[in-house]
Structure formats: C-alpha cells, structure tokens
C-alpha cells in the first residue's frame, strides 16, 4: 500500500537517511498495513481503513527525538570567544588610530583632526569590552 508508505516516509522526510530510519519506517508501515487489513476484515472499505490507520499513527516527534540522540552528532555550537574578540578590536583600533595620528602629524601638524576619526573608531573596542564584561558575569 503505497499511500501508507508515502505518508510515513513523509513524516520522517526531515531526518537524514540511515538504516535505523529505514527500519523504523518499515516497522511503522507494517503495523499500519496490518491494521488496514484488520479493519477491512471488519467490513471497512480500503479507503476508510487507510484513512483510519493514518490518523492512528499519531505524533512521531518522540521517535524522531530519540533517533537523533543515539548517533547524530550534536550540531556544533557556535560559541563566541569574547576575550579574543575584545583583544582583536583593541589591537585593530589602536592600529587605525595610529595611522590617523601619523597622517595627522606628518601631513598637517598644525591642524589637530585625528580625534574625530579616533572617537568614531573607539566605539568598536568599547562595544566589545562591554560585551566581554556582560558575558563574564
């Protein structure tokens, strides 16, 4: 009975193929087919019997959950290294500010303008220092 097979396979469509999945689908399909055969013996039409069996399958989320735990590798958790991120921003902004300083004093020593870009750049290390502090607590 293709309809049952398609239905059950569809329920597990989001799970990667594996021998475990195949055997689960196969067993569920078999049980449902037996149910259909039984219901038809009791006088139901095939259409009705299949419908009833599919409704009686119920919720497969519990099966899926316990499938995943056994052999699926846990998804790599994306962790942010706040300390590294902070140091990077400090070093990088120091270099940028250094560049402005150099340009300012080398090319236009009589006009102090490097503070403007410095303020703009400082937001970056400030942000990362505070998110580092936040994370530490």
């Amino acid at each position: 009975m293709k309809r049952i097979n398609d239905y059950v396979a569809g329920m597990f469509a989001d799970i990667p193929d594996s021998p475990e999945k195949d055997s689960i689908v196969q067993e569920l399909v078999m049980n449902l087919e037996e149910k259909v055969a039984d219901l038809m013996e009791q006088g139901k039409s095939e259409e009705d019997a299949v419908n009833k069996a599919l409704v009686d399958l119920g919720d497969v989320s519990e099966i899926k959950n316990s499938m995943g735990s056994s052999d699926r590798r846990p998804r790599q958790k994306k962790t942010v290294n706040y300390t590294n991120r902070m140091w990077f921003s400090i070093w990088a902004s120091a270099l940028i500010i250094g560049l402005f300083l150099f340009m300012n004093f080398y090319y236009s020593p009589h006009r102090i303008w490097f503070v403007y870009p410095t303020f703009a750049v400082l937001w970056w290390p400030l942000t990362s220092v505070f998110s580092w502090l936040n994370h530490k607590n």
Partner: protein, 112 residues
C-alpha cells in the same frame, strides 16, 4: 476516548505486561490494548513505537523477526530479565500510588 497522562505514564509497564504474557508483534499489541479496554483506550502507532524504542534501548525487551505471515515479516518482541524486574518494580509502585490516590481522592479508609 480516555487519553490521560496517568495512562501515558504507565505505558511502558502496560506494554511490558503484554509482552510478558507472550512474545508479541507491534500491531498485535495495539489491537490487544483496544480489545481489552473495549476500545475505551487506543494507543497510537507512533506512541507504541516510541515505547518499543525506549524499552529496547533499556534492554527490557529484545526483538527478533518472526516467520513470514501474510507476506510480511513480523518483528516480535520478547521480554528480558531486566524487563521483568522493571515490571515488578512498576507494579509495586502502582499499587502504592493507587492506595494513596484512593485514600486521598475518595477518602477511602484503609481499614474498611
């Protein structure tokens, strides 16, 4: 149709009990549950399978393929020693629970 949490909490023991009586296959168990309760309780196939999975993982039951019947190779489940022990434990717990609920919910006195 009753589908209470209390029953759900004891499905493992209920199914173990059926497997203790004799080796059974999937649909046989859901049919048996329907028949014994005169269809006041029905187990969903997915729920039943989740229970099998759990029981097998805990080594309370083992499965084997039976002979081909009606063109199908049925998967039978068989109780293990651990399964039996777990069942006995659950029965003890259930007796105790029943006693407490009777006592508290219906005010039944133990002496009567």
């Amino acid at each position: 149709m009753i589908s209470s949490d209390i029953i759900r909490g004891h499905l493992d023991a209920i199914i173990l009990r059926l497997i203790i009586e004799k080796d059974r296959y999937g649909y046989e168990i859901s049919k048996e549950i329907g028949e014994r309760t005169k269809n006041t309780f029905e187990i969903k196939e997915a729920t039943l399978y989740a229970v099998f999975q759990r029981l097998e993982k805990n080594e309370y039951i083992v499965s084997y393929s039976g002979q081909i019947t009606h063109g199908r190779k049925r998967k039978y489940y068989k109780i293990t020693e651990q399964g039996r022990a777990f069942y006995d434990e659950k029965i003890g717990e259930w007796e105790e629970t029943k006693r407490i609920i009777d006592l508290l919910m219906e005010g039944k006195d133990e002496k009567n």
